[in-house]
């Protein structure tokens, strides 16, 4: 046994797991996250996997990653750079070297560091000897060899035995972070509950990793991240896609209307369909359609019958759904369209994030075709905005486009579990049978939402459709003035939603030198960058928009009192141009990035400092 190392208490740590897509890095990452949450750390995670399912072993294309940011303090992003990198092979090392902090701890599986793998990773020489790792604390662990030694007597085939080597890594981390190994064991018992032989092997390897780390004395220092100082209550770790699915379920329960999800699998939105497919007992029906168009059309059909109708997709799918969204606009049926944005155009970067579809959501249809558009801004608040999307659709009889993105969808964070009874009420526009004077376009005077009579109701038979309809009666009408009236009413109905959404908040002073403006999924990075600069005493504030159409009532008030405004987006300037069209009297600077990657806090701070210096 080695001597007890020093324990250093840290406010936050970023750990990156990287290996071949078959190395179990996602599993180890989730295990590390769950353990962190169990001991009360705040956390944020982000998986980074290739779009290929199993690219050739050992190659750059096959590297799968999982980043976890844990904190005693609040954390809002998965972190820019890693304090600890686990690299299971040379390709994983090469891919991730630019994402580690100076002096980071790098744990490698030395058994995979051979000429063959150097070549596959594109290294000319052994990176362990070429000086590129100078200054880092490199732990060369014989992970494969010791895993095989540990499992040799358990009667597993060698392929299965090798799959447990991620637990060797986990064991090292349990030691490195001074954690109780029994938490990791419990995770494995739950994970493999139907396969006792796998539980046994994985636990043996986990312990072997822990013992190895304790013995080798390579870790002169270990770390302790204490429980979160600000969080209190019942939490769980949740991804954006899961939160979206659950938010819809909560709305369905609240409104007492079963969900109908018509959808077609598409990265990175598919998990919402998969999650709701498991929820038949909570009155969710899922229909895996033959294409994106049938996905939304089946949902529109279900909406016509009185269901909470949803369709889920990503950029190219939203393009295919455009015509049908127009049908939902003109028939004024409630419909939630969840668009999990990814890099575009065309197939683009399916597994990478981008704020690609704001313009498409706002304007991507023929004719005057206004929709409510909202955006979630963290993995956990996908729950709130999915709930809100359903509420707005049902209460205002309109399609609602909810924008999330690949970063929110696959990322996860701690979520304070709410209670359905405390959530906002949802009042639908359903009417009783034989309602006197019912016509399809009789409206609620406040919201302008039309009444929602559904098939099966006595005395309410009516026809809807994509041809322009006469005001009130809903007869087909080609009358020029009627078209103007109906266009105006559909627009006014969406405009009036402004009375049912919160005002825009400003994080920081309402009057300052620089207003940082963002929308949707960039919140974590923008918030961290802005608040860190505020802590330094800089005159900077943040307005992160979740309500895009309509914009909150006080938007102009928010924009007004700043010397400089900068709109930061993971696109070439879609929101800034929207703001320019709505509030042309203000000057907007831009900070744009389209690399399939989220903003780094460091690059944002650099940009904001520069703007503050040149104000």
């Amino acid at each position: 046994m080695g001597k007890k190392p020093n324990i250093v208490e840290l406010e936050e740590v970023v750990v990156k797991f990287a290996g071949d897509s078959g190395d179990g890095m996602q599993l180890t990452g989730s295990q590390f996250s769950d353990t962190s949450a169990f001991i009360g750390n705040d956390l944020s995670t982000f998986p980074d996997y290739p779009s290929e399912i199993r690219a050739p072993q050992g190659t750059i294309a096959g590297v799968s990653g999982f980043q976890v940011h844990i904190g005693h303090k609040n954390v809002s992003t998965p972190g820019d750079l890693a304090d600890v990198l686990i690299a299971m092979n040379p390709a994983a090392l090469r891919t991730n070297m630019k994402w580690v902090k100076p002096e980071a701890t790098i744990i490698i599986d030395i058994d995979n560091f051979d000429d063959k793998n150097f070549k596959k990773a594109g290294y000319a020489d052994d990176p362990l000897n070429d000086g590129s790792l100078e200054g880092f604390n490199v732990i060369q662990a014989p992970i494969t060899e010791l895993t095989r030694a540990t499992t040799s007597e358990l009667g597993l085939d060698s392929k299965t035995a090798d799959k447990t080597k991620n637990q060797f890594v986990a064991g090292i981390l349990f030691f490195l972070f001074n954690r109780d190994i029994s938490i990791g064991e419990k995770f494995l018992k739950d994970k493999f509950k139907s396969k006792p032989e796998l539980v046994k092997a994985n636990i043996a390897v986990l312990q072997a990793g822990f013992n190895y780390a304790e013995t080798i004395e390579a870790f002169s220092t270990t770390f302790l991240v204490n429980p979160s100082k600000n969080k209190k209550g019942l939490f769980r770790n949740i991804s954006g896609n899961q939160a979206t699915a659950w938010g819809l379920l909560a709305a369905s329960e609240k409104a007492d209307i079963g969900i109908f999800l018509g959808s077609y699998p598409i990265t990175p939105a598919t998990e919402i369909l998969q999650e709701l497919a498991k929820m038949k007992h909570l009155n969710a029906l899922t229909f895996q359609a033959e294409d994106e168009i049938a996905g939304i059309c089946s949902a529109i059909g279900a909406s016509f019958t009185g269901r909470l109708a949803v369709t889920t997709t990503s950029g190219p799918g939203l393009a295919l759904k455009g015509e049908a969204i127009g049908l939902a606009v003109i028939t004024e049926l409630p419909l939630v369209i969840v668009n999990v944005q990814r890099g575009g155009p065309s197939t683009g970067l399916p597994t990478k994030t981008e704020q690609s579809d704001l313009m498409q959501a706002l304007y991507g249809r023929n004719g005057e075709s206004p929709c409510i558009v909202i955006a979630a801004s963290s993995p956990a608040n996908c729950f709130d905005y999915a709930y809100k999307a359903a509420k707005l659709a049902l209460e205002h009889m309109s399609p609602v486009i909810l924008l999330t993105d690949g970063y929110l969808a696959n990322g996860s964070e701690l979520w304070h579990i709410p209670e359905v009874k405390n959530m906002e009420e949802i009042h639908t526009n359903k009417v009783e049978d034989n309602h006197a004077d019912y016509y399809p376009y009789v409206r609620n005077e406040e919201t302008l939402a039309r009444l929602w009579a559904v098939p099966g109701q006595e005395g309410m038979r009516h026809r809807v459709g994509g041809l322009e309809k006469a005001d009130i009666t809903g007869e087909v009408s080609h009358d020029p003035m009627n078209h103007q009236v109906m266009v105006n009413k559909r627009q006014a109905k969406v405009d009036r939603v402004v009375n049912y959404i919160p005002e825009q908040e400003i994080i920081g002073e309402k009057e300052a030198d620089l207003l940082v403006i963002g929308w949707g999924g960039t919140f974590g990075a923008l918030f961290t960058a802005v608040t860190e600069l505020q802590d330094e005493g800089l005159s900077i504030s943040l307005a992160q928009f979740n309500y895009i159409n309509p914009l909150p009532k006080n938007t102009e008030e928010v924009l007004k009192n700043f010397k400089t405004r900068v709109v930061c987006e993971l696109n070439m300037g879609q929101f800034v141009n929207y703001l320019r069209s709505k509030f042309p009297n203000y000057d907007y600077k831009q900070y744009n990035k389209v690399q399939g990657l989220p903003f780094m806090i460091s690059e944002l701070k650099l940009k904001f400092r520069e703007l503050l210096e040149n104000k």
Binding site: D34, A37, F38, G40, D190, P227, S228, K229, N230, K231, K232, G233, L234, F235, R236, N237, W246, L249, A250, E253, G262, M279, K280, H281, L282, L285, F287, A289, E290, D291, I293, A294, C297, S298, A299, I300, G301, A302, F304, T305, G306, R307, A309, A324, L414, I417, V420, V454, P455, G456, E458, M460, R461, H462, R463, V464, G465, G466, E475, V476
Partner: protein
Amino acid sequence: MSENSVSITAADFKVDGSVKWCAGCGSFSVLATIKNTLPLIGVKKENIVFVSGIGCSSRFPYYLNTYGFHSLHGRATAIASGVKVANPDLSVWVVTGDGDSMAIGGNHFIHIVRRNIDVNILLFNNKIYGLTKGQYSPTTPIGSVTKTSPDGTIESPFSPGELVMGAQGTFFARVVDTDPKMMKEVFVEAANHKGTAVVEALQNCVIFANQIHNEITGPDVKHDHQIYLKHGEPMIFGKNREKGLILKSNKFEVVTIGENGITEADIAVHDAHDPMHSNHHMLARMGLPEFPVALGVIRAIKQPVYETMLYEQVAMKKASAKIKSVDELMRSGNTFMINGE
């Protein structure tokens, strides 16, 4: 049939306002027949939904007092799938044309048939694009001169029945717009069928493809050029019921009763319930001049219905699931009590 059917008549389905099809259009007789059929199917009038796509025939829902949805070009079957799956108590009908369901909506058409969702599809086949004024459709006979094929079409046409069989369809029938009695009989059978029922209505476009089906429907030729199939009955046709079909080496052949020693007992009996579709396929494909055109219910087999199986799964899941509410769901699995400072 429920007692409800006694109390409703064709008049219940009449809407105010004019029907805006061209005078002489075949759609009028289909509409009139549907109004006469709906009181016979044992469904409350509030539980009937007509969904259509785009095209002349797709204006149908506006002319019928049921719940109606005039949707998008090609998408009626997708929307109807959502309607029926969301509420299986409804009697759901799709009205579509040869352009709507065979061209732009071809994908949705084969998939609703494959899933066997209990929807009745009335496919108005006039073999032309009428609403856009006379371009060829996927069912236009090869060589036809239309506005977009001035030198004749060079495309092989679809036969809707063959598509239905290819997509593992459970019900296919064909009718002509000139025979309301046949239409009514077949529509009732389609309504009673559990699963997707496709009825191809050979319909005349008086403007752009007038008399396209005349060789089948003309008063002089119809007895010799049509065969009205009925399950369990010998396949006999002709003005004096003197002709019939026999099966020889797995192929149908037209014979004359009384010639070459053929008697009525030799005529093949129509088995619409045969799960194999080879005979149904041949019947659907038969055409002039060698064969009469097969009408009536060509295929009607029992197969599990999509929404029935879905709701069985729902019931089983509800019975077995420990989680009964969203609050319970959110608290299931790994949760963590955190006690911040």
